[in-house]
């Protein structure tokens, strides 16, 4: 009888430990980004500098290994099950199968997960009790000064990366540089999803006249960008503006953020 009870107790005890293991492996180091003023990239009559409140951000992009954990626990997000509305046919195409990253891809376990849609990124962040960063938060954090590399200007550094073709095998996280907020690879590894990526109001191709623009957009269109020499920023905003929520792209990953509480 006592033996039985002990067995039960031990089982319950260890069951508890194993149940907690999920949360242990999902804990990812986050950096605290002290708030400040963020000057929106596009200047309009209404676009004054925004106050970005202090927040926390994953120190690296979410990796394939981390995303695999999510996939195992959330079958509806598996490659074979996902709704096309929420992820296009490129979704996780670099994995061997639904729940196997693959021997051929051994080196990418610790690389940023890419080929993930906005919806999938949203769902992942929610699952770990976080959220996607806003554009303002991401840009504010991304402007942090590099700490451990030599560089002349951040813009030149970023443009140098943009110029390079995608490497056939994506390097691991923490392979580029760390910035003043202790965030790794904000530029230089992958592009990253943001919560409000669809906030970029593109003027469209065919709209020349100001009247058309006024008709097409509630507020006046952009008058100018804050810094004409920030070509890298311009590319980033254009890239975001060209995305759709279900797009899965080989150089687009994400990291999560959280309110500071």
């Amino acid at each position: 009888m006592k033996f039985l009870l002990t067995t039960i107790i031990v089982t319950v005890f260890f069951g508890g430990i194993f149940a907690q293991q999920k949360t242990v492996t999902s804990v990812k180091k986050m950096a605290v980004i002290p708030g400040g003023m963020y000057e929106p990239f596009f200047i309009t009559k209404a676009n004054k500098p925004l106050r970005v409140a202090s927040f926390k951000m994953d120190e690296t992009a979410v990796t394939n290994a981390e995303f695999l954990e999510f996939i195992k626990q959330n079958p509806q997000w598996r490659r074979s099950k996902v709704n096309r509305l929420f992820a296009d046919s490129n979704y996780l195409r670099h994995w061997q199968s639904d729940t196997v990253i693959g021997i051929a891809h051994k080196n990418i376990y610790n690389s940023p997960v890419v080929n993930v849609s906005w919806f999938a990124a949203q769902a992942y962040c929610k699952w770990v009790g976080k959220r996607l960063p806003t554009v303002a938060e991401w840009e504010f954090a991304g402007n942090g000064k590099p700490q451990n590399i030599k560089y002349k200007s951040l813009t030149d550094f970023i443009l140098e990366w943009y110029r390079k073709p995608n490497p056939p095998i994506l390097p691991n996280v923490k392979s580029t540089y760390k910035n003043q907020y202790n965030l790794y690879d904000m530029h230089g590894l992958v592009w990253e999803w943001t919560f409000n990526f669809n906030s970029f109001i593109s003027k469209g191709d065919s709209r020349g006249s100001t009247e058309d623009e006024q008709k097409a957009f509630c507020a006046a269109g952009s008058l100018d960008v804050k810094d004409r020499s920030d070509y890298a920023g311009f590319l980033r905003f254009s890239y975001r503006g060209s995305l759709k929520g279900n797009y899965c792209i080989a150089n687009l990953g994400f990291r999560c953020a959280k309110d500071l509480k």
């Binding site: 209404a46 709704n83 949203q122 008709k215 097409a216 509630c218």
Partner: protein, 207 residues
């Protein structure tokens, strides 16, 4: 000793109970959804925007999920009521579509969803509906930021909140079929909606 053991077992069972409770609450939600889904005639197609499970609130302060629109084609736009220029015009454009349909307008859902999670309360939406003389076929919705953002992503509507709490946004009128599958979209204010109306009539005739 036995008491202690029983005590431990008991507390352990409370722990596991509370865990179970957590998951059974989720199960309940899912089954509630399923029951809801059973009430409607057909299962939603995969590409239906009604797959979005987020809950919104109507101008009458009633909870609302998009799946409740199933059965009629839907004309949907996104606005905010503090908008002085574009949004009343976008609303008027949809009103024009409704007018063209005459009595048949009862066979269509006209939906406006607000960008403004902070200011567009149910009461405020009700005021806007009255001001614009929107009839019972109109459903005005507000929801949390995430739900609104997700819908905007699904509809391809770009929007951004500025420092004043107002919004820059694209002006789009979208058309969904009876199952919530995206069919057509027209951009711009005071746009020519002949094609929208044409397609809407076809969608109304569908089973």
């Amino acid at each position: 000793m036995k008491k202690i053991i029983i005590g431990i077992l008991f507390s352990a069972s409370i722990v596991s109970c509370s865990q179970n409770n957590g998951s059974s609450a989720k199960d309940l939600q899912t089954s509630a959804r399923e029951t809801n889904d059973q009430n409607v005639k057909q299962p939603l197609p995969e590409e239906s925007i009604f797959q979005l499970k987020d809950s919104f609130e109507t101008q009458d302060a009633k909870p609302f999920t998009l799946a409740m629109l199933q059965g009629k084609p839907t004309v949907i736009g996104m606005i905010f009521t503090h908008c002085t220029y574009a949004c009343p015009r976008l609303t008027a454009d949809i009103q024009h579509i409704a007018k063209t349909l005459k009595e048949d307008k009862d066979k269509v859902n006209f939906v406006l969803v607000s960008f403004d999670a902070a200011r567009d309360t149910a009461a405020r939406l009700k005021e806007f509906a009255d001001l614009m003389h929107l009839d019972k076929n109109w459903i005005l919705l507000h929801g949390n930021e995430e739900a609104v953002r997700t819908l905007s992503v699904l509809l391809g509507v770009q929007f951004e909140k500025d420092a004043n709490g107002d919004f820059s946004h694209s002006n789009l009128v979208s058309l969904l079929d009876k199952q919530g599958v995206f069919q057509y979209q027209k951009e711009g204010l005071e746009a020519d909606h002949a094609e929208t109306i044409n397609r809407l009539k076809k969608l109304m005739a569908q089973k």
